[in-house]
Symmetry: C2
Subunit: 324 residues, 2 copies
């Protein structure tokens, strides 16, 4: 029903509409580009599905849903500058195509296009939708800040790591669902339950993403496994391994992190061996399943008939399905 | 009545409130810094004065006024990265203190703090205030885009230049006034008149700023005169001179622009000599006065008693006063 093609078309229309004045052409070219190079449109789809739990007519949720997707893509443009990433979804990043100055400016414009879309929520839902949006946006910035801080920090606790991914990833998924619920005029309690569903799903999703980067099937997962290990990225696996390893094993792990990478595959094999000895994968998967279960429990409590929740449940199950 | 001290205190309170969670300390330190290093608080003061034309109680306009100032300072952080400026208001710029990555991220957070403040407009004014805000924000980005485009462009027409400063500078001053009028529940017609007052004032202000950079009294104006000439900045004076000069004089001007600067003072003297021969200063001042007059005409038509407009008029007169 809510295909990502439909949403892609819609966001294209929004962007094209905004860029109708030729004087802003250079400003909006990177905006059109980042919106066109793919992405699963997970957030807007979830927003529309959440609205649909409570209302058959979901057209009032469409612009806020697009706004959330525009916001998400805005964060990708600026994060890619900050992380100096060259590729995104198999295509060159905005700043590597247009330079950082243009990427900063077009990203900024995009932040306000997102506000423009959110601002088209129905008037009776506007104040609440807007408040949720800017609070979430500031939380996402805080998550990216923690990510930057942790780069320089030697020891990051499991708790700190989970808080970081909660802010950087999970709260936007949670807000997508809650936005749909607000526009759908859901009872307050159901709005909160859907937020919790999204928050837990988002954390599970990210932990599982960490597992897949190290243990996933390259053909299925689409990116080379082990890239996080090569880059010393502070994933759940690494954070947990540093916490659990002791004595000789800890020294060995630290040595692998500090050494200059001569042979990436060898580094991946060595680090993975330590993970295996510590049963890190199992613990990560248990944690992810735990959060998936909490997500489903929240969804189950939402006060609409079970058959209305089918699509949303299926979407979540498909996300879990990636593990296998 | 609306002292900038009062507004500085207020915006400090807003920023401190937001930064109460220690996990976001690093994110908000640059925000507090840019808000603390000065600025005339012209925009929020104008917003409150505009509201006060129609209402004695102006407290509902305070948060939107702060939001406009936060937005303005957000643009300064990102513009300074884009222009690679080392100093701002006599202090180091955010990115030269904390690095570009931090400046991008803290700027982003600030954009949403601005939305948060705007979002606290009274509910009946919210939709209109918000719409004005995001449209203006996108226009300001477009103005900065034109400024970037014109750096690379050989010939910029007077019309193009005026459009650029309208978008980059004037529309935000206009929007500040209109926001105050909306919150003050002014008649639609008066809202538009105040927008026009601010738009014309903003253009006049910027053209006059160009004149002062080349002809101002260093002691009075606070920055070294001639810096625009040394940097080949496309000011109204240069755009107009390139348009009017012909033959030998045009060749000479182009040579001065292309040559490597050995002696900055000599370059300033030479370029200023060409400006003088073409009576550029006079034309710029005439244009600025023309826009000032249009501004005052708009203000005069606002449907409140003349004595209520005293403060706003005085503020505008003080801005003109800078010329002399």
């Amino acid at each position: 029903m809510f295909t990502s093609d439909y949403l892609r078309e819609l966001s294209d229309k929004v962007i094209t509409g905004l860029a109708s004045s030729s004087e802003a052409d250079r400003l909006f070219a990177p905006v059109r580009y980042i919106m066109s190079i793919g992405g699963k449109r997970l957030r807007p789809v979830m927003c529309l599905m959440a609205c649909n739990l409570f209302k058959d007519k979901i057209d009032e949720a469409v612009m806020p849903a697009v706004g959330i997707e525009v916001f998400h893509n805005f964060t990708l443009i600026h994060d890619d500058i900050i992380d100096d990433a060259g590729m995104r979804r198999g295509s060159p990043t905005v700043h590597s195509k247009w330079g950082s100055r243009q990427a900063i400016l077009s990203g900024d414009a995009m932040a306000f296009i997102a506000v423009e879309c959110i601002g088209q929520a129905p008037e009776k839902a506007l104040a609440k939708t807007l408040r949720l949006f800017y609070r979430t946006a500031i939380e996402v910035c805080t998550g990216q800040q923690l990510d930057l801080d942790y780069e320089k920090k030697g020891v990051v606790s499991e708790e700190e790591y989970l808080r970081m991914i909660e802010l950087k990833t999970a709260v936007l998924i949670a807000a997508s669902l809650k936005t749909g619920a607000i526009v759908g005029e859901a009872p307050e309690k159901d709005q909160e339950l859907l937020y919790e569903f999204g928050r837990c799903l988002g954390i599970a999703f990210q932990v599982q993403d960490d597992v897949l980067d190290t243990y996933g099937d390259t053909r299925m997962f689409g990116k080379k496994t082990g890239s996080d290990i090569v880059a010393n990225k502070k994933t759940y696996l690494l954070v947990k391994a540093l916490e659990m390893a002791g004595g000789e094993r800890l020294r060995q792990l630290r040595k692998l992190l500090e050494a200059e990478v001569q042979d990436p595959e060898e580094k991946v094999t060595e680090v993975r061996k330590i993970y295996d000895e510590l049963e890190i994968r199992l613990q990560a998967e248990n944690l992810a399943y735990d959060y998936f279960n909490r997500a489903f429990q929240a969804l189950d409590q939402v006060s609409v008939k079970a058959e209305r929740k089918g699509e949303l449940k299926q979407l979540a199950v498909n996300l879990i399905g990636r593990v296998k």
